[in-house]
Symmetry: C2
Subunit: 385 residues, 2 copies
């Protein structure tokens, strides 16, 4: 269902020849209206890919009629020519779709950094995708944005009263806050203004997609878009809509971590007892980025000492001798020292929960990550060769 | 030669039975004077091991008569009992050495976090080590502090006029700034006050041991000590002495990176054209911690896009479209975009040099790291199991 679960959207996924493998590599998502409202959030990396710079400009207008997404190349660090390539992509889409302005067409790219896109293949691909647009094309679009992903990621929530939020995502490596190498397109047939979409999207991503951290590496291309067609004729309650968007983002984020490059464990880090949410997030990210801990989890070793070493590098409020850590529910560290027997921790299953209690206040936050494996190294030492 | 290269020092390395392997695991370094001046720097991790808390207290007096070091257990996150264990270790050393106060005996430990040391083995070991003290014992002491190290690390510089600085180091994983899981003992027979030692040691570590970053993980146990016996009767020129200490620290730091867990490449990151030294260090550390880049280097892939993505996460002064990156001397990225042909980069050798030019000023800094390999994952997923 993906991006075509909501009414007022058509999509396509085709093989334009950008990927050497010949696989699907170009997706097109079109909002058929009546409304063209949109919101977006983008990577906080200061080195931004050309399509990010382009789409940020598009989103300032609050109107998006279509999104062109390609895998097989990030169009990042490609200089002025890279930006011209993105512009030409939007112009071609406007042309073949008819009645659209390039200024309302967002572009997103993913793949290797520092290589120009093969425009001789990409531009004809845009025309081909437009010819294959369908109200059932969401699933093929979700396939076409995959890079090292092994499965497509989609999610749908039905709101009460006949509106829907659906979406698709890609991302497997370079997953880190602010955001992770992810391309995400969410669609809804709810009838909402751009400002309302923006509010719901920022609130949703702040506690979901922005709190997954696979490998600590922040991408140049992260793009998360929310398009509203208004085709349901319904204007949902703001709270219910925000929750629906949050649920779709949370589900997509979990799917991203589950499919992270080489991962064998999904790790949820619950930081509790923090003096502030900022402290909790800082501590959670520090734990999520500790390579030694991530190797230990891979080896099913409840190495809580590495959790404390990671907490100790932060500026969060805590006293070392009051820290408590549980792994899969067993409080292996109490008061900064040895707690229950680590042999009691059962780590045979894929899901691992680390609870870090700072004993410094009432705030909490959850960060999701995965283990560090030899497969991650293999995959990323051969990526571009 | 190690810590006994300088006159006025004796050392020993013995097997106390702390390591299950039965290998050497306890070292003792004794300053036989006439002077007992000392300086130290310690981990900036807020979760500090008991021996760090103890030795920081000892160093406030500027006098160290002996150092007890053990591998096989970090005595970190062991609560009040862990601190008592360290105290008992110093007391035992004072007792068996005779004529010493425990308040002048530093202790350093390395190994697994969160496990108490086997004091029934360690305390008799201190007595055994004292019985084996020798002016030629430096090499065995360097062997006894190894954990996952594959080779002992030692260095010696002879000053003009008959004084010497020597030292030993251990460290292989959890290597990160401020400092890295390292235990380092430097000795000199120069005749200097504690304040002069402190100044030389801080200046030296700031640009050497504090700028190696193997895996981004900061240790709870880092300890770097400089002991001066005055046995040469010489008081060196401050500049020459500082340079000697810096040279020994730099050499030991290189040895630590060369022996980092699983490493197959030694990576030197030269950040140039920075607006300030702080900016250069921040950028160098960000590059050194990028798992994707470290995997690429392992795969001999000159993936400069990942260098730019790492730079983009910092707050350093730079414009994305002015960044230049060279790998092994080939400027593969110019003006933030594609530069010379990446096929020209020869990455067959162990040493890899990444030059990042921020084009924002005159400042520079060098950070040393290593690649991320499947061997690192294997070693650290089985460490404590």
């Amino acid at each position: 269902m993906s991006v075509t679960a909501a009414r007022g959207f058509e999509a396509a996924g085709i093989a334009a020849g950008i990927k050497e493998s010949g696989g699907l590599d170009l997706a097109l998502v079109v909002n058929t209206g009546p409304r063209l409202a949109a919101a977006g959030v983008f990577t906080s990396n200061r080195v931004k890919a050309a399509p990010v710079l382009w789409s940020q400009q598009v989103l300032t207008g609050g109107q998006v009629s279509a999104v062109v997404l390609n895998s097989g190349g990030a169009n990042a660090c490609t200089g002025p020519q890279g930006f011209k390539d993105t512009h030409a992509t939007a112009e071609r889409a406007a042309e073949v779709l008819g009645g659209h302005s390039a200024a309302e067409i967002a572009v997103a790219s993913t793949g290797l950094i520092g290589v120009r896109l093969p425009m001789d293949k990409l531009l004809p691909g845009v025309a081909q995708a437009a010819a294959e647009l369908s109200a059932h094309g969401g699933d093929r679009a979700a396939l076409a944005i995959m890079t090292t992903d092994t499965v497509p990621k989609t999610a749908v929530v039905q709101g009460s009263g006949g509106w829907t939020v659906g979406g698709m995502a890609k991302g497997a490596g370079m997953l880190a806050p602010g955001l992770a190498t992810m391309l995400v397109v969410l669609t809804t047939d709810a009838d909402l203004e751009p400002a309302a979409l923006d509010q719901a999207l920022r609130a949703a991503t702040r506690t979901t997609l922005d709190r997954i951290d696979s490998d600590g590496c922040m991408s140049t291309n992260d793009t998360v878009l929310l398009l509203a067609s208004g085709a349901s004729g319904r204007t949902p309650d703001a709270g219910e809509f925000a929750e629906a968007v949050r649920t779709v983002c949370d589900e997509l984020g979990r799917q991203l971590i589950r499919d992270a490059e080489g991962a064998s464990k999904d790790i949820r880090i619950d930081v509790v007892g923090a003096a502030s949410e900022e402290d909790a997030v800082q501590v959670g990210r520090s734990i999520a980025r500790n390579n030694l801990l991530k190797c230990a989890i891979h080896g099913e070793d409840p190495n809580w000492g590495r959790v404390l070493a990671a907490i100790g590098t932060t500026s969060a409020a805590f006293e070392p001798d009051r820290l408590n850590v549980a792994i899969n529910g067993v409080w292996v560290c109490r008061q900064g020292s040895v707690g229950e027997d680590r042999a009691l921790v059962d780590m045979r299953y894929r899901e691992v929960v680390i609870t870090a209690d700072l004993a410094a206040g009432p705030a909490a936050a959850t960060i999701r990550t995965n283990d560090l494996t030899a497969d991650y190294v293999h995959e990323n030492s051969a990526y571009s060769s």
